[in-house]
Structure formats: structure tokens, C-alpha cells
């Protein structure tokens, strides 16, 4: 577990290109500072090689997927941070304003709750609406995408988060 796994420039370029494309397709933007982003992408690859999933490069992973689900990039906190600060915690994802150079990405406060308060919030049962649905409704915890089907999709069509980031909404 010691040391940093090797990462090639090609690996970084390939993931950078894919993340950039997927971000734009979903209405998100990567930070225009390419050197900065390559540093983050390298961190994502290192974490993937180390843990088996791409946990946030700027947070400490527990090394256990279940405990780190909320900080697998894109993290559960990206969208609220984009709305409030114009960038996610790492500043990998940025707002239109930062992309256009009208604002600068900066280090922002940590939104992730401390471990003792980090219970998985389930939205199930929090609504007072009583519905009789033919299918259950699943919510992507990363971007809020909703879909009605027997089970969640393998990959969120909006933000590309994987199946395990979905929770049953109704």
C-alpha cells in the first residue's frame, strides 16, 4: 500500500478527455486550468489503482468503498458546492462563471459531514405524498436525476455516476 502507483501521461490524457466530454454532455464543466486538472486526474487514477474506485484526490479515503461512496468522484457534494461556490471541493468541476474567467476557483470549506454525522440519508419515507406507482423511482445522489424503473441504471445518463450511487426515492 506504500508509495504512489505509476501513472502515465497517456492515462492522464485519456481520463481527462473522457471526464471533459462527459462533463460537457451533462451540462458540467471541468476547470479550464489544464495543469491543475491534470494533477487532479492523476490523483483520481492513483486512487483507482489503490482502492479500486476513484475517490476524491483532496479527501482522505477510508479505503473501504462503502465508507467512501459519497466521495467517489463526482462526489455527493459537487452540485451543492457548484451552486454555492462555483466549484467542487477539489475545483475539478467549475461553474460557467469560472469557466468564462469572470471568477477564480479557490479553496472552499468542506461540506462533507464528520464521520459520526455521516449516516446515509435516505429520502425514502421523508415525503408525505402518497403515491401508487407502477415502478419505484430511483434518485442519483450525485446529480438528482430521477427515473422510474425496476432498478437503477448501471450508469447515470446525466453525470455518469455508477449504479451504487442511486437510492430509492419513491
Amino acid at each position: 500500500m506504500n508509495g504512489i502507483p505509476d501513472v502515465t501521461d497517456q492515462e492522464i490524457s485519456a481520463l481527462h478527455e473522457r471526464l471533459s466530454r462527459e462533463a460537457e454532455e451533462g451540462g458540467y464543466h471541468l476547470n479550464p486550468d489544464k495543469v491543475f486538472v491534470r494533477g487532479l486526474v492523476r490523483g483520481l487514477i492513483v486512487n483507482t489503482k489503490r482502492y479500486g474506485y476513484q475517490s476524491c484526490p483532496c479527501r482522505l479515503a477510508a479505503g473501504e468503498k462503502k465508507a467512501d461512496l459519497d466521495i467517489i468522484c463526482p462526489c455527493d457534494y459537487r452540485d451543492p458546492d457548484l451552486a454555492e461556490y462555483g466549484a467542487c471541493y477539489c475545483a475539478l468541476y467549475v461553474s460557467d462563471e469560472i469557466l468564462a474567467g469572470r471568477k477564480t476557483a479557490r479553496s472552499i470549506p468542506e461540506r462533507r459531514p464528520p464521520p459520526e454525522a455521516r449516516t446515509k440519508p435516505s429520502l425514502l419515507g421523508t415525503t408525505s405524498v402518497t403515491l401508487s406507482l407502477q415502478y419505484p423511482v430511483w434518485r442519483c445522489r450525485v446529480c438528482g436525476y430521477l427515473c422510474a424503473r425496476d432498478g437503477p441504471p448501471d450508469v447515470c445518463p446525466i453525470c455518469k455516476a455508477k449504479k451504487d450511487r442511486f437510492e430509492r426515492f419513491f
Binding site: N2, G3, R42, R59, I108, E110, P114, P115
Partner: protein
């Protein structure tokens, strides 16, 4: 970022705890782990990399990850200020060592994110905050 932490933790405690995390016993650490003592000349754990600087502000430790760009910004700022400090790259630690190092700085306002800059064992700046770091290292 969150403000500086309150509540003094003697400088020596941090070094002793970091050292103990690596299984080393430093002189002065076993009898009184909270005795104030600096790192200079001590037999520090190998993961504490000394970054020499002309500006000795006392005990300054930066805990982070080489793969985190904000940590690199912290390092660049410290170098720019010629601060003499110790760098701990969590990438080089196993899970147990990481837990122990983080436990030694539990007085920080948050310890789930990096960079964590510990100044004099009692002030803690989490995240890259140039203004706050410059102010703390005046």
C-alpha cells in the same frame, strides 16, 4: 476555509505522536509526550520530509497528498515564503499509519481533507487559504 483551531497542543506532542505512529521512540517523548520540543535534531520518522527554508517559524508541518493540487499550492506558498517545514505525504503511508497521523492532529477543525497545515502544534489551517497562511506565518 474553517478558522484556526483553538486549544494549545504542545509542539512536542505532535512530533512524538507522529514519531510513535511510525513505531519510533524519540528522546524526550516516552517520559512526557506533551513536553514541548522541536523536531530539530530528533530522529524523525522517514515519512516526515524536511523542507529546508531560510525562514524558521518554529514547528510547521504540512500533511497532505502529493496527488492533491491544493497541497501543491500550499507547498509552493511555503517555499515562496522560504518557510522551513516538514512535509508528510499520506500517499506514502499505509492505512494504519494514516489513521495514527490523523489522530495526532484531531484538534484540527477537520481532518478528512487535505492539506492540513499545523503551525506550532496548535494552529491548524485545513485547505489552501493563502491569506490565512500568510497571516499565521508572519
Amino acid at each position: 476555509m474553517r478558522g484556526a483551531a483553538s486549544g494549545p497542543v504542545p509542539v512536542g506532542a505532535i512530533f512524538c505522536l507522529l514519531a510513535l505512529a511510525a513505531g519510533l521512540l524519540l528522546a524526550g517523548c516516552t517520559s512526557n509526550p506533551t513536553a514541548p520540543s522541536g523536531p530539530q535534531g530528533a530522529n524523525l520518522p522517514s515519512y516526515m520530509v524536511h523542507v529546508a527554508g531560510a525562514n524558521d517559524r518554529g514547528s510547521v508541518i504540512l500533511i497532505g497528498r502529493a496527488t492533491c493540487p491544493w497541497c501543491q499550492k500550499d507547498k509552493a506558498l511555503l517555499s515562496n515564503l522560504s518557510v522551513d517545514y516538514y512535509w508528510v505525504d499520506l500517499n506514502n503511508l499505509n492505512n494504519d499509519e494514516t489513521t495514527q497521523v490523523i489522530s495526532s492532529v484531531k484538534f484540527c477543525p477537520e481532518t478528512d481533507a487535505v492539506p492540513i497545515l499545523v503551525i506550532h502544534g496548535q494552529e491548524c489551517i485545513v485547505g489552501y487559504n493563502e491569506t490565512q497562511i500568510r497571516e499565521a506565518l508572519k
